[in-house]
Subunit: 142 residues, 2 copies
């Protein structure tokens, strides 16, 4: 089949399929006499694998490794699990970060009356000094 049908069957844009080929995630597709790419249902299977892995948030680099493990009959599931755990930790870290943002921002939004007057706790927060960053305090806060 040509790239359009592979795209339809894998539910990936043709652009993305060509991009994955350029990035070496999939083997360069064979070409028909006219230069068109040609795909097998096995290729579609690989594309679906990639689509699922991407939808779980794995990076292209991780996808590359996962695909090679998938194809390796001698693999250890430990290798797969290690990648997944690493990614899971990444996700959990991001969740924590976003929860922190949500808490701060939610409080600011709650405090802002949101009418036509100019005074605004949100801008006050952004403008105020002393958001503790990397710099160490030399005295303990009371």
């Amino acid at each position: 089949m040509r790239i359009g049908e592979a795209a339809e069957q894998s539910q990936l844009p043709t652009k993305t399929i060509r991009f994955y080929e350029k990035e070496g995630l999939i083997n360069p597709a064979e070409r028909q006499a006219n230069g068109y790419r040609s795909y097998s249902s096995k290729d579609v299977h690989t594309l679906l694998f990639l689509k699922r892995a991407r939808s779980l948030g794995f990076s292209l680099q991780e996808c590359r490794v996962l695909l090679s493990l998938y194809r390796d009959r001698e693999r250890s599931s430990a290798d797969v699990k290690r990648i997944a755990k690493h990614h899971l930790a990444d996700i959990e870290r991001k969740i924590e970060e976003l929860l922190g943002l949500k808490a701060v921002l939610g409080e600011l939004v709650d405090k802002c009356h949101g009418d036509d007057r100019p005074d605004c706790p949100i801008l006050d927060d952004l403008a105020k000094a002393g958001h503790d960053g990397v710099r160490r305090r030399h005295t303990m806060p009371r």
Copy 2:
């Protein structure tokens, strides 16, 4: 002061300060006779505003608007609140998405024994067909 000191006081890299200038987030810095950029403590204040807004996850575009509102004495706090609420909703959406990923991935990781044998529920999941995507079901799931 020169860009290096502004960078130290704002805790932003000089590269980032120049980038913000190029992007029009801050006014082009005045230049000394030798062409070096010159900053006032007011400029540092603006940089700190940007740093804080960025740390709360506002996009550069949002920062641009927030800064212009900050400088506008005739502003309505409603305008600020609208931006913040929009951003907050965005954060909450991302959290939900990541929680979904965490649930799926966490379950897969738990199911994988992670030893030197090749069979692996994670890869099985990636490879299996039927991850419901955009496509509509024509029959109800039981």
